[in-house]
Amino acid sequence: MSRETTVNLLLALLLLGTPLLAAGLGEPFYVTLATRVTVLALAAVGLNLALGLGGLLSFGHAAFFGLGGYVAGILATHAFNAEPLFADIPATTSMPLIWVTAAAVAGLVALPIGAVSLRTSGVYFIMITLAFAQMIYYFAISWPAYGGEDGLSLSMRNAFPGVNTAKPLPYFLICYAALMAALLLFRAIEGSRFGSALQAARQNGTRLAAVGIAPFHIRLVAFAVSAMITGLAGALYADLNRFVGPSMLSWHMSGELIVLIILGGKGRLFGPVAGAMVFVFFEYVLGGITERWQFFLGLILLGIVLFARGGLLGLLSGKPRHV
């Protein structure tokens, strides 16, 4: 077993063990904190597919995170008020249905955004993805039907068959299972034909085109799949907080998702997991010490970018291998 695999397993066990222990000790707060780590990690796994494997520096993934959240919030609100969505289509509080809808909506919105953004590259791509996310953000703020600026509260968590989702631990386990499934999917894609083409598109798009594979199509599909995973995370996040608001769509959120990946290690399978752990740890510990924790987070982040590249996994597991 390689060193990276060992580190990954330890991280997976740590993330599972901590809330189990906390629940045993009657400390539900830490279970919720671990759930937050898990859901943020899931969102970043989605971004890692585009950014880590494909080299697509999307500064607009908050759009997909927020869309997933709003799907959960809107479906739950309609179901609670017993209003159909449109015409005769009923709303639902069933998590599996909500997840599928959230992922589908995020993916469908990602296709046109990607189709425009991926015609460009470099700084243009960064700015355009940011601009589109901002467009959705402003739309959410100025559309009053679902809370506008104030957001939307869910009166209770949505339902999962056979599980009491209102309790912290079962809800954590649902999120943990989703994260593990996404990590398996990430690993499968990384080693697949599609993943090969995607990574080649990052390393050398001209080479990929010269063998007859159009980088644009590969990148577009990757962008959409990436958005779907992040959208799913958004739905889970809305249920975690029983709230969804424009802040989920804000560009700070997009920035934080990138930060998570870099803190953990870009393109590494468990990079987002390690990054989310470190991020939430900082947020919690620094936030406990000082109200100004973002100031210090900024300093730490600046230090990492300038002096310690490779992230936490670079430190723990050494250089990545490609076979």
Partner: protein, 249 residues
């Protein structure tokens, strides 16, 4: 005479006031190695870029296997069987030599939208790719990342990738560059054997290689073809001697 595989008519491309390609016409016929020579800055690479699709011509036609490919992008032209090697090696640097070739195999099989099966365990990819590396004597270095290969090995890898596409024509942009006399000689012999797999448009500065390989030579100066003919015709053409060979001597 058989139909040309590649047929270029009156191709033009300008960058501002500079006419990089100024009414070029040329044919590449089956079984042929057609060498394109000319001094630095004559527009040879610009021409290759337009044929491969990484630059768009201002006017003129490019027909490949009878089809007008002028509006196709690079990937679409490659799918029709136009395989290209780059003047400066262009590889997926982090991938091993084998995975670079596997990418070409996968492209030929038209199967890049498979998301689950792991390529390293996929014999449909690894075996043909390994066979290509063996053909260019690079099998022993199959698992070395492209970035760590020597200059000569990277050129060999470029050829292996082109071969893996089972192309209908090769576009080779200075394959001998930086190879050293021994390497050039071996590559010359190797390319000589390839002419029966697919015809070749060869841009090359190494005159020994050009005279040894070419069935036909076109001389490009300032974006125009000033002479085109057999090796002997070109050798004895006074204008060519003045414009180009004389300068080299």
């Amino acid at each position: 005479m058989s139909e040309p595989v590649l047929e270029i008519r009156d191709l033009r491309k300008s960058f501002g006031a500079l006419k990089a390609t100024d009414g070029v016409s040329l044919d590449l016929r089956p079984g042929q190695i057609h060498a394109l020579i000319g001094p630095n800055g004559a527009g040879k690479s610009t021409l290759i870029h337009q044929i491969a699709g990484s630059l768009k011509a201002d006017s003129g036609t490019i027909r490949f296997l009878g089809e007008d490919i002028g509006n196709l992008d690079m990937a679409a032209r490659a799918r029709l069987g136009l395989a290209r090697s780059f003047q400066i090696s262009s590889l997926a640097q982090e991938f091993s030599a084998l995975r670079n070739v596997m990418l070409a195999v996968q492209a030929r099989q038209g199967s890049s939208f498979r998301f689950f099966r792991q390529v390293t365990r996929d014999k449909d990819l690894t075996e043909p790719a390994m066979a290509m590396l063996e053909r260019v004597d690079l099998a022993a270095r199959a698992h070395v990342p492209a970035a760590e290969l020597s200059h000569g090995e990277r050129r060999q890898l470029e050829i292996a990738i082109a071969l893996a596409l089972a192309p209908n024509a090769f576009l080779l942009d200075e394959p001998m560059a930086g190879m050293g006399p021994e390497g050039s000689k071996r590559l010359t012999t190797f390319l000589d054997g390839l002419r029966h797999e697919a015809p070749m448009l060869l841009v090359e500065h190494d005159m020994d290689a050009v005279f040894a390989l070419a069935d036909r030579i076109s001389v490009l100066v300032y974006g125009r073809i000033i002479a085109s003919g057999t090796v002997d015709e070109i050798r004895s053409d006074p204008e060519v001697r003045r414009a180009y060979l004389g300068e080299a001597a």
